[in-house]
Structure formats: C-alpha cells, structure tokens
C-alpha cells in the first residue's frame, strides 16, 4: 500500500479520539508539544524581525557617529547618565521578574506568577515615568530632532562641550531610538496585562504556560534593545 490517500486510514485511526483532550489545545495541533514548539518557533522568528526593525536605527546611528564623532560626544553629555542607568536597572529587574513569572508558571504557581507579572508591569511603568522626565527636560532645553533643534543655553548641562550646529541629527536618532523602544514598552505593558488577566482566570498550568513564556520573550527583547541603547546613547 503505497498511497497516502489510503495509507492514512488505518495507521492513525486510533489517534482520532485520543489527542484532543485539553481545552487549551487548538484543533489543528496534534500534541501539546507541537503547539508549544510552534509557538516558541513563531515567537523567535517574530523576535528576529523585531531586531531587524531596530537594526535600521542602529545602522543610522553607526553611520552618523562615524561621520560626526565629536558631535556625538558633545550631544551625549546632555543626556543624564543617572536617569539612564536607573532605567537600565529597572528594566533588568523587570526582565528578571518576567523570567521568574515564567518559572512560577512552569511550576504551576498561579499566585506567584500573577505577582511577578504585576512587578514587571510596575517596573515598565517606572521606566516610562523616568523616560517622561528625561523627555521633558530635552523639550525644555530645546534638544529636539532635526528642524526643531534650538538649544537653550540656560537649560544645558554646565561645563559640557559646545553643541555643533548639526547636533539635531543626534537628537533625531536619540528620539527615534528611545521613542520606538518606548512604544515597545507600552505594547509590552499591554500584553503583560493581558497575560495577568488570563493568569487570574486560571488559564495556565504546568502543562500550558505558553502565552506567559512568549510574552516574557517579548519583554526580554525590549530589555535586550535597551541594553545596547543605554551605553550607545548615554555613555559615549
């Protein structure tokens, strides 16, 4: 019997009733492992596209930094290392709690999972608040992208190198990088809340924690991008 059309009936007949037990197993998957692996693979492919999305900004950064190194040094002195460093630690901590949320979920600890997700969301909000203060200062100082770049001497950091005329390019890149990253943080908060609600409903278990896992992957990526943004923008 060499045909797929006829070979299928006998071999898989015994499977037909067995493999659709759990409610969370979607109809088109055969086993939980297949569903989990597909989700993880899909998420990693998605993360690859996220990294390529950011890569454009990094290339622009590389080209302009190489063309105007002094301008980048001067402009970076206007950024607040302390605020940036604090934000880095906040994000790293949120990444840690996200990893712990996945761990709790893997162990079936629903309450702990919820708490870790809440801490992660809280850290994300702290990150945005600090970012808000940084942005406000830039707006007051006139350190704005391209056409809007009009520095006000009284708001600039004292003792920093003078800003060349084309410093607007740096702030274009700065605002695009941190802005696009910030949008990712906001989206992250959204999906974390969604996961928190689902966790509260008791949808996750030792056997099924895939959504927690992939949302945490996304959150780690947001952290990952910031790990590079912080030294490249603040610590030149």
């Amino acid at each position: 019997m060499s045909s797929e059309a006829t070979a299928n009936a006998e071999e898989h007949a015994h499977d037909d009733h067995g493999h659709h037990g759990p409610k969370w197993l979607a109809h088109h998957f055969d086993t939980p492992a297949q569903q989990f692996d597909a989700a993880k693979l899909g998420m990693w492919v998605f993360l690859a596209q996220e990294l390529l999305f950011f890569s454009g900004l990094f290339v622009a950064y590389g080209v302009y930094r190489s063309w105007y190194p002094e301008m980048f040094v001067a402009a970076s002195h206007q950024l607040d290392k302390i605020m940036g460093g604090t934000n880095t630690i906040v994000l790293l901590f949120s990444s840690f709690t996200a990893a712990m949320a996945v761990r709790s979920s893997q162990l079936g600890k629903q309450k702990a999972t919820g708490n870790y997700i809440l801490i992660t969301i809280f850290c994300a909000c702290v990150f945005l608040v600090i970012k808000y203060f940084e942005y406000t200062h830039k707006f007051h100082a006139g350190l704005l992208p391209g056409r809007f770049f009009h520095p006000h001497a009284e708001h600039l950091v004292a003792g920093a190198p003078a800003l060349p005329a084309n410093t607007g390019s740096f702030f274009s890149i700065y605002f695009m990088m941190t802005g696009v990253h910030g949008v990712h943080v906001v989206i992250g908060i959204g999906v974390l809340i969604w996961i928190w609600i689902r966790n509260n409903r008791g949808e996750f278990s030792k056997e099924f924690f895939t959504p927690v896992d992939i949302v945490a992957l996304y959150w780690h990526l947001v952290d990952l991008v910031w790990i590079y943004l912080f030294p490249l923008l603040y610590l030149i």
Binding site: A33, L41, V45, V59, W67, G85, N166, F209, F230, L235
Partner: protein, 154 residues
C-alpha cells in the same frame, strides 16, 4: 539548576518538556547583569580612546548573551531557535558592513576619476561648473551644517 530536560519535542508522549532553572540561578544572572551595568557606567568616566566603543559593545554583548541564554532560555531551547537568532544577527551584520563600506569610503576615488564636484566637501573642484547664482541662496543657504549632501569627514 533544577531539571535539565531539554525542550526538544518528544513525539512519543507529546507533552511539553521545558527547562526550569532555579530561583537562585535567576538571581545570580540578575546580579551579574547589575554588576556589568555598574561596570559600563564606571568605564564611561575613563577615556580609553578608540577602545571606548569596543569595550562598551563587549560589555553590552555580554549582558545581552546572559539575557538571551538564560532569561530567554535559548541555552536550553530548540537548536533551531538559536539558529534563527544567530542568523538574524548575521543579517544585521551584513546591513551594517555593506552600508558602512559605502559611507566610510565615499568619494575616496573622486580625485583619481577627475570628478568635478567633490562630494566629500561639496566644493567645486578646479575647472568645475560655475554655481548658479539663484540656486545658491535658496537651495543650499538653509542647510544648517553647510556641508551639502555628503557629510565632511573629521
């Protein structure tokens, strides 16, 4: 570390087998990340010249590898997922390398080719065209950098 079961699909039972690290391990990774952050901030007060950028990238990459390997479980994950990640880094590298192969070396051969307008400086080379009087005010006067299309090298 707790159990070392791999995430590879087991067709035999069809259940999910994921690696679970211990809390202490996650705490250790987190502390390492904080230490590296402090290190990179501290380093920024020391001028290493050209090495600055390299050190900064190295520290950031170490941190990123910790996050990717352990927080994101890539160390224990399906090998293909790691391949996706690595190939994505490769393509970003291609993007960087090729673009900067142009931007870093643009105009280097202009002199040899007897180019009349030097893109490097935006100036007219000897024997070049006489700039149009009307366009010099409207087109180029507003440029804040005054360096025209191709930025000057420093």
């Amino acid at each position: 570390m707790a159990s070392q079961t791999s995430l590879h699909p087991h067709k035999d039972d069809g259940a999910v087998h994921a690696h679970i690290s211990s809390s202490a391990f996650y705490v250790a990774v987190f502390m390492a990340l904080i230490a590296l952050t402090v290190l990179t901030v501290g380093q920024s007060y020391v001028d290493l010249g050209r090495l600055n950028l390299i050190v900064v990238i190295l520290i950031a990459t170490t941190k990123a590898s910790l996050v990717v390997s352990f927080f994101m479980h890539l160390r224990y994950d399906n090998k293909f997922n790691a391949l996706i990640f690595i190939s994505c880094i490769f393509f970003i590298g291609v993007f960087f390398a090729y673009t900067m192969n142009d931007t870093e070396r643009r105009g280097e051969l202009d002199g040899d080719q007897n180019v009349r307008v030097l893109p490097k400086t935006g100036e007219d080379a000897p024997g070049g065209f006489v700039p149009h009087a009307a366009s010099s005010g409207g087109e180029h006067g507003a440029a804040p950098t005054g360096s025209g299309a191709a930025p000057a090298h420093h």
